[in-house]
């Protein structure tokens, strides 16, 4: 089974802190994605990566950056956390040429 693992289930950070959310997949997938999930807004794409060191902005990239130094790992970085970044963050991966995406369990981030 494909496994997508996010490093933390729950995270509480202070305003202004630099925050790292880590995601690891074990199926050699080329494509990885970071979504933000908010009630009433569904899932919105922050960034995605289609190869090592390659990245593209999604629909809401402001305030975020990403890093993909290894194929299996995709990190989401909040350079200076703000309260409006309090949310559930979902990581997903998908094999090249495949249609099914596999999701991690999510990280619920609270910025205080």
């Amino acid at each position: 089974d494909v496994k997508v693992t996010q490093s933390s289930r729950y995270l509480v950070k202070r305003t202004g802190e630099k925050v790292f959310l880590e995601c690891v997949q074990d199926m050699d997938h080329e494509n990885m994605f970071w979504y933000r999930q908010d009630p009433g807004l569904g899932l919105r794409l922050i960034y995605f990566s289609y190869d090592v060191k390659m990245k593209e902005k999604g629909d809401i990239p402001e305030g975020y950056s990403v890093s993909r130094e290894k194929k299996e790992r995709f990190s989401l970085i909040l350079e200076s956390a703000s309260t409006n970044q309090t949310s559930m963050y979902l990581c997903a991966s998908r094999g090249q040429g495949r249609t099914e995406a596999f999701f991690g369990q999510g990280t619920r981030l609270t910025v205080v």
Binding site: G42, L43, L45, Y50, E56, A101, F103, Q105
Partner: protein, 118 residues
């Protein structure tokens, strides 16, 4: 840009009954994929069912089936014989046909919270 609309924020159904979740989408593409994903409470999102736009036949997966109306850009999910374990958020999603360059991404609706009552 593609958009996906789920007009029912919440629904409920009695165990063993049938329920239909609605989804409409907007696109100028001719070839694409449509999905229903399920997110149980505090659990990972999983794929329920997938439909290729070029296929006229509606997809089915056990108790789950879709009604795909390409001209109307409608993609509803029918759950038959509802079970307590079907309680979850359900997301409709769209993806353009996978090309040779880079990657296509999923565009999600806002979700429908389904509760199955005993």
């Amino acid at each position: 840009a593609q958009t996906v609309t789920q007009s029912q924020p919440e629904m409920s159904v009695q165990e063993a009954e049938t329920v239909t979740l609605s989804c409409t989408y907007d696109t100028s593409e001719n070839n694409y994929y449509l999905f229903w994903y399920k997110q149980p409470p505090s659990r990972q999102m999983i794929l329920v069912i997938r439909q290729e736009a070029y296929k006229q036949q509606n997809a089915t997966e056990n108790r789950f089936s879709v009604n795909f109306q390409k001209a109307a850009k409608s993609f509803s999910l029918k759950i038959s014989d509802s079970q307590l374990g079907d309680t979850a958020m359900y997301f409709c999603a769209f993806m353009k046909q996978i090309g040779t360059a880079r990657s296509e991404k999923l565009v999600f609706g806002k979700g429908t919270k389904l509760t199955v009552n005993p």
